[in-house]
Symmetry: D2
Subunit: 343 residues, 4 copies
């Protein structure tokens, strides 16, 4: 058993981490923090957890890295970018494993961070220590790391379908388009008019066009996979569901590519992965089939009319796109079975 | 043509007033105010009105009663309670007709106001001048009034079905229960976590039990109709739709009542009303049949097993429950056909 | 380990049973039937279960009671009323435990069955053998039964709050009103226009007024608890959520009742129940806090203005209102911990 | 005043036509047909129209082209493809103007029709007579036509943004991608499990990949505009809203193109169009701003990082994407103001 803490447990990712850790067979949730709810019990803040035996005894506290470092072996940071990095250093110094769900340690380059996040990186020295927490791609590195930068929700839905194809040189690294549709929880539990029920229900809208922040980590990871600089087109849309991301990728196959090779490539990459579901036959990804799970669905079609390869994915933005994937990384770094607490 | 202004035009009721007045054949919308959006055009604040010819020339301004009094014949107040009353006096003094959508002038008693709204009434001298703006009940008074207190959304859905039955002594005034379900726009365009998409979607919940503020005007009006003090049970629920109120009323028929008399009572009261739809046959009220209209649907069933009379209604909380009804009152007070701009 | 089968596994209750049994620590799902999908694998019919190791090997079959009796120890019937009873007899004769989610064995009286379901009871001799599967009320009987009639979704949301109050004579048995709001899955996976997305979304509507079929089992159970014949008023509404029932009960307290006694009554009845959450403080039931769980939330308010007791509940209609409760009964009858597979 | 009839008035497009024609200042709705509802009044089939004076006197009838030809000047066909064409010939022979909302007359080529619709064209001789009913593009032809093929919902959302750019040679005709998101009413009022509330709510999914039927008319029209054969990529998605299509187009600008020219091109094409709203500033299209209206919103962004032009549109699939556009064509062909009944 490892002891786990969550800094910033009152947002949607934090709440989902609470759910997963309360039911984890090898981890004990020992601390949750929230400036807003400090002093209240878990049951008071989240009535839905009130039936859990720990919900009356676990109190939200003010975030205090030193104190938490004494209580916990693993600390999850579910905080806004910029804020997360400040907590990481004292926790690492105290010997904790840090799993950060913000963008702070996802990039290798402090310059790119500044370009996309509009402020200096708060802890550039730590960037080299961090591993990008995409277990299907960086499993071995994650196992040995103490600072894991858990990927963003959109990036997960884009990178898992693309990396094997790029690495196998089955698609051209130029001209990639990712069109994504996200549920409203992706915007966080923020009291803003734009995310009120009546502003989102019966509404569909693109946003953040053409330069969404998640492009930075997507392109960095795709460039690693392709061995060359990759620039992509990315359009996110907000749609009226609580959870779920549906991504459609428009790709140009390399001349050597064909259906058989694409199929083999995906089977090799993900055939034995527990959390990647390759759809065959006539099925296409549907967010309702992955909600509440750590699974990403992937399907593809070669279009003989256009010559393009269309790859589609579906995931739960709060699970495989955030907290589930973070727990998957915890399982790896702690030596637990990778699916612990996730099935 | 009359000139109309809206103070507080950026909330949901205000926005709906804008929609109705922009398309009104006998009124011209000359001013809209909003502290938050002062300086912006209607098209900027509400892109959905951008195709209207006036949307580029009409600018939101700071609310200024004196200035508005010079511009407008009729002024709608779509403001929080307490704030609305402050604007009414100077507008009335300047000769404007005031139609207030807040609770400030709905009650005859300043004491009851204080009991339910927790502050002294800001303009108790005006209470006598105000008419409760339920046209089907107070049509003649509204025509002669200069201060119209437009009813609340829940009260409208409860009063219209009940008043004829009480007035005809077909139901007992004691023991009335009103169970209401409201769409989220009823909570207003407020940036609060409780009304975020993810907090309301896939959620159903009662609230404000047992003493919701709207009880004050409901009970006052029912008491007038019954000629005796009426105390009712009222339970509102929040449900994930943008618009619509569905109300179910549980009533004890007087011994003299029967199906024929109830039918005749409703036909007499509403048979020639344009905005009350009495359902017959097997139909029951459904909010989707009244959304966007000024119509309230009413159906009833006598239950031979329990002896109770069940009356059900459906309305659009922003139209018949707020802005449409306010325009209906404007039509009356200005001498326009009552359905102008509403069909 | 017990072997379990589901007859009629393609509807919403059946699908939820599949979910629960696939993850049950003491049960193995050995057979699923569906006339429509016979021959297909679980993964083909329900892509969301495709990551489970059994989803490729478990095939839907035609329902065949004799064959299933050889395969399974416990058989769940998730079938329409009338059809379910036909399967029960051969399964019981072959020594299976039968847990029926239809209405066929919920009533003690074949006459009442015929009154509400409009056809003769298909197996009246079995009525005496059946136990009403509400574990919090009939735990000991369920443990010894071989034929369990799992309650309806509305009845569960009404009976659990009412039975302790009636049994303790804290409320009057006359004049009870239950106003319920149900998500659309309650209507089943039926291809009917009334339940299309566009007919339900942005719609709220009462239906089945005033004599819904579920009244029969509600009133029979309430009469047992009260020791006298109980007739209630029940109004169901359809609301646009996938899952969840919110019920509001309007009750007349007996003169001896007060807040302290009501509190004590509920604490005594449910204080140590794992699946009943008594809300205190300011919280009211919210379906989003129980979705996907076997928990029912209950809160109450005494209204000093009307003298009434208002009791509110929230449950997931497919879990505590159907399949979760059925698994809870299986746990009891098989001697497993009552919460197995349900937390 | 012209007399109008609707054959197939019980689906979503038919219902929307009823709504528009009941309120049209220059048209009188004289007949509505539906095999299923023949004999019932408009009020019975659509309670939401019950307040209209004609709703009690207008009865649904069996479709009978000869009879309708005697009653009506203009006949709308809101029928499935293949069926619509059969009704067109007798109506045209009898001198009616026919406005067909099906796919039957949208293509110039009977071969392409067969390729995409999988059956021989039922009336190939009429193809030459038909005009593609996109008023902003074919206004003059529509005015003189007697057979108008009203465009599909997806095509409208794609063609209006693309045609001016292609005609002005500002974008390359090769490599166009259209990614579209549609509300569920686009699937029609069909009693199929796939479109049940619980199957669509909390679900997002692509479908019809890669060869949706609407490609045929999209590509034919784009080819006309470009003066060369255009093949595009098109991916539709189903999202949980009643109405609305949001389309994102990925385009390669020609070398001569720049922001100024694109802006000028759109201003020239649509600057004086009543139903095309070119968004400037920071706004992006949002379906909630066009729901219930005949307006299409268009915005665009040049991406300096990729060199691509991103064009986004939003429309109501049942109004500008179907029935509103059909009425717009009626207005043209009958010599009414083009916006009659549509604002």
């Amino acid at each position: 058993m490892k002891k786990a803490a969550i800094i910033g447990a009152s947002g949607y990712s934090g709440e989902e981490l609470v759910r997963l850790l309360l039911n984890h067979p090898h981890a004990e949730l020992v601390a949750v923090t929230s400036r807003q709810y400090a002093g209240q019990t878990l049951a008071q803040v989240f009535p839905k957890f009130a039936s859990h035996p720990r919900s009356e005894t676990l109190h939200f506290t003010e975030p205090n890295a030193e104190l938490l470092a004494k209580q916990a072996d693993v600390v999850f940071l579910a905080l806004p970018h910029g804020v997360a990095a400040e907590h990481a250093l004292p926790l690492l110094d105290a010997g904790c494993i840090v799993i950060d769900l913000s963008a702070d340690f996802r990039l290798r380059s402090a310059e790119v961070y500044k370009e996309f996040y509009a402020h200096d990186h708060p802890a550039p020295d730590l960037l080299d220590k961090a591993v990008y927490g995409l277990p299907e791609i960086y499993r071995d590195k994650i196992k040995k790391s103490v600072l894991i930068a858990s990927p963003g929700c959109y990036p997960t839905s884009i990178l898992l379908p693309l990396i094997p194809l790029l690495a196998a040189k089955l698609i051209q690294p130029a001209g990639i388009i990712a069109d994504s549709l996200s549920g409203v929880s992706g915007a966080g539990r923020k009291a803003e008019v734009d995310y009120l029920f009546c502003e989102c229900n019966e509404s569909v809208r693109p946003y953040g066009v053409p330069k969404h922040r998640h492009l930075s980590e997507i392109e960095e990871q795709l460039s690693f996979a392709a061995g060359t600089v990759v620039i992509i087109q990315f359009t996110p849309h907000l749609i009226p569901v609580n959870r779920g991301i549906s991504t459609t990728l428009y790709l140009a196959p390399e001349k050597s590519a064909n259906a058989e090779k694409i199929c083999a490539c995906y089977k090799k990459a993900y055939g034995s992965e527990q959390f990647v579901r390759l759809l065959d036959g006539r099925n296409l990804p549907d967010t309702k089939n992955v909600i509440g799970t750590n699974v990403i669905e992937i399907a593809w079609r070669l279009d003989p009319r256009t010559g393009r390869l269309i790859v589609m994915s579906a995931e739960d933005n709060l699970v495989k796109g955030a907290s589930g994937q973070a727990v998957q990384s915890m399982n790896l770094v702690c030596g637990f079975p990778e699916t612990s607490g996730l099935v």
